[in-house]
């Protein structure tokens, strides 16, 4: 492997400030979100003014006219889901523009090209299952009811009936993304409601989840264009995302395809679960779909893949049957440094309709001399003497990746994130001679997971759900 010069990203400190249009749009959306908290069922004059200024900010865009019509309709208490769909689309478009401006800022600071979608032949035509359209109509109806009532005024009685829709969505494989998002959203609402006294509403977060759900439910999922890839995948960083009902292990790595320069890809394995399944049970859950991926992550080995599908976004659809763990131990820090120091435009990104500041995860490699961190729970790293925030709240609590390991480490892979109005770095691999990343313990936990909670619940499910159907 060629040795690349190990100088760190010089421009990270340019990210201490945020582009003015981003701050401006965030302010406008914060006002819109207040309407969601109090509810569209009782629009105050201040609310109407907020909606009017939202409409004028879209002047001259394709959304201007539908937005005018929707706001006028809502002002006349016309509660139909298409009005709310337009509001959600406008909010998503504004977040998409923020995303693009922020990615442009980050890429300029890091002196790298902006990520691009790979160009594929057209997607195969494929009908969505007929049931999907009906289920998504129920989702939109429910979301509309939430918006009319307002998040501060939800009654638990308005939340519970949605479980039946969600059960049906879970049984529909074409709607797996909806199931993951909506089960997390409903969970959160039910944690707060029924509320004693004034509920604590995480306004921005809930309106994000609401708008995301609405946009995702406007039409049944269209078929996605992909291409088959073969070559070797070398995972050098991971991240774990989860709520009570889904666990998702995301892996970032270099894909070496024959005859092409190596590039960065992202893959993930996810499983549905219940709250009590934690710790070692996560290994049991993910083993079925990604046992070989867990093995390669634990051993720092490469994976030979053939016939796996790659999305234009650089997302590899993980398929166990198309992977083989290779015996050699890799030097993952060198691998990461090689593909991240001057990455090409073909690297993980988001589809236009998915763009939102929260999905920005620009991978960076920091060599040892570029940063310093101290303490057991560091909240920032020092970049040449200047502090830069760490997104430590995003790092799962584990022995796999304790942030205390940053002190004296030999290098670092991090996701550059934007949250709470500022940029931060989320470490996803710390080079301590051997790579530290989330999920390295899952391989050995598989054995312990046997006979644990997962097995007990699966056995119960096998008996009871068969009886039910």
């Amino acid at each position: 492997m060629p040795l690349h010069p190990l100088h760190g990203p010089p421009g990270l400190l340019d990210l201490k400030s945020v582009p003015e249009p981003v701050t401006h749009t965030a302010g406008l959306l914060a006002q819109l979100d207040e309407v969601f908290e109090s509810g569209f069922g009782r629009l105050s004059s201040a609310n109407l003014q907020t909606l009017a200024s939202l409409a004028s900010s879209f002047a001259g865009t394709p959304l201007a006219e539908p937005l005018q019509a929707a706001i006028a309709g809502l002002g006349r208490s016309e509660f139909v889901d298409r009005h709310f769909a337009v509001i959600a689309a406008a909010r998503a478009a504004a977040h998409g523009a923020m995303h693009d401006a922020l990615v442009a800022q980050a890429c300029a600071a890091l002196s790298r090209p902006r990520p691009e979608l790979e160009v594929f032949a057209a997607a195969p035509a494929q009908e969505a299952p007929p049931r999907a359209a009906v289920l998504l109509e129920s989702v939109r109806q429910w979301l509309m009811e939430l918006a009319i009532a307002g998040f501060a005024n939800l009654e638990v009685g308005a939340l519970l009936p949605f479980q039946a829709t969600l059960d049906a969505i879970m049984a529909e494989p074409a709607l797996v993304r909806h199931a993951a998002l909506l089960s997390g959203f409903l969970d959160e609402l039910l944690t707060v409601f029924p509320a004693h006294g004034k509920p604590e509403v995480p306004r921005l977060r809930w309106v994000d989840l609401w708008a995301r759900s609405m946009v995702l439910s406007l039409a049944p999922p269209a078929p996605v264009a992909t291409r088959e890839v073969k070559g070797e995948l070398r995972v050098f960083a991971t991240d774990l995302r989860q709520h009570d009902h889904v666990v998702c292990l995301v892996a970032f790595g270099a894909l070496h395809e024959p005859g092409k320069p190596p590039r960065v890809v992202r893959t993930s394995v996810s499983a549905f679960k219940v709250d009590v399944l934690q710790g070692e049970d996560l290994a049991g859950l993910l083993n079925e779909v990604g046992g070989k991926l867990l093995e390669a992550i634990a051993g720092g080995q490469g994976l030979k893949i053939a016939g796996m599908l790659l999305h234009a976004t650089g997302d590899l659809v993980w398929q166990e049957s198309r992977a083989e763990v290779l015996p050699a131990k890799l030097k993952l820090a060198e691998e990461a440094a090689a593909v991240l120091t001057t990455p090409t435009a073909l690297r993980p990104s988001a589809r236009p309709e998915d763009r939102h500041p929260a999905v920005i995860e620009e991978l960076v490699w920091l060599p040892a001399e570029a940063y310093a961190a101290t303490g057991k729970e560091p909240r920032e790293v020092s970049l040449g003497g200047s502090p830069f925030p760490l997104a430590s709240e995003r790092v799962p609590v584990s022995d796999d990746l304790p942030l205390a390991e940053l002190a004296g480490s030999k290098g670092l892979v991090a996701l550059l994130r934007f949250d709470g109005g500022r940029w931060s770095l989320q470490p996803v691999m710390i080079d301590k001679g051997k790579p530290r990343m989330v999920g390295t313990s899952l391989q050995s936990a598989r054995a312990k997971a046997r006979g644990g909670n997962l097995a007990t619940l699966k056995e119960r499910a096998g008996k009871l759900l068969r009886k039910k159907s």
Binding site: C248, T267, S270, L454
Partner: protein
């Protein structure tokens, strides 16, 4: 090992396969000590402090004589393991100090209600929904919305 941020201590599901705070109740399913195939459906209601325990076929629990049976005590214990004493106390609206509570059973003296029947089917169908989650096939497709869910 990856540790949960919310679950205070590991809970084993052998005796109480299902417990939840839902719709104003601490409710769950408790295995029978004697009969492998029998389960009890138990709940405490927030505010009123009312409770009930029956088999999933709606036969009242023999241990329920004006005060909570052993299944209800187990439910409280596991509820506190699952959610922590503070959340259970707040959810049920009990007059207890979370810091002093070592096990769920200690909360019993703060339960002021009496036996009050609800249909076991209501809680039991929640259990089936719960089990459905462990029956859905895992997936290797990208789930970009999971970027919102971190703990």
């Amino acid at each position: 090992m990856i540790r949960p941020r919310v679950l205070p201590r590991a809970r084993k599901v052998q005796k109480v396969p299902f417990v939840e705070l839902y719709a104003g109740r601490l409710q769950g399913v408790v295995s029978s000590g004697s009969d492998q195939d029998r389960v009890y459906v138990s709940y405490f209601e927030a505010g009123s402090g009312n409770f009930y325990c029956s088999t999933n076929n709606n036969r009242p629990c023999g241990g329920l004589r004006g005060s909570p049976c052993k299944h209800l005590v187990e439910l409280l214990n596991e509820g506190v393991l699952q959610y922590g004493a503070a959340r259970v106390i707040a959810y049920l609206g009990l007059q207890a100090e979370p810091d002093k509570v070592k096990s769920g059973g200690e909360l019993l003296r703060h339960i002021k209600g009496g036996p009050h029947k609800v249909e076991a089917g209501m809680v039991f169908s929640r259990f089936l929904t719960y089990l459905q989650y462990v029956s859905v096939a895992p997936t290797g497709v990208p789930l970009p919305d999971m970027a919102w869910f971190v703990r």
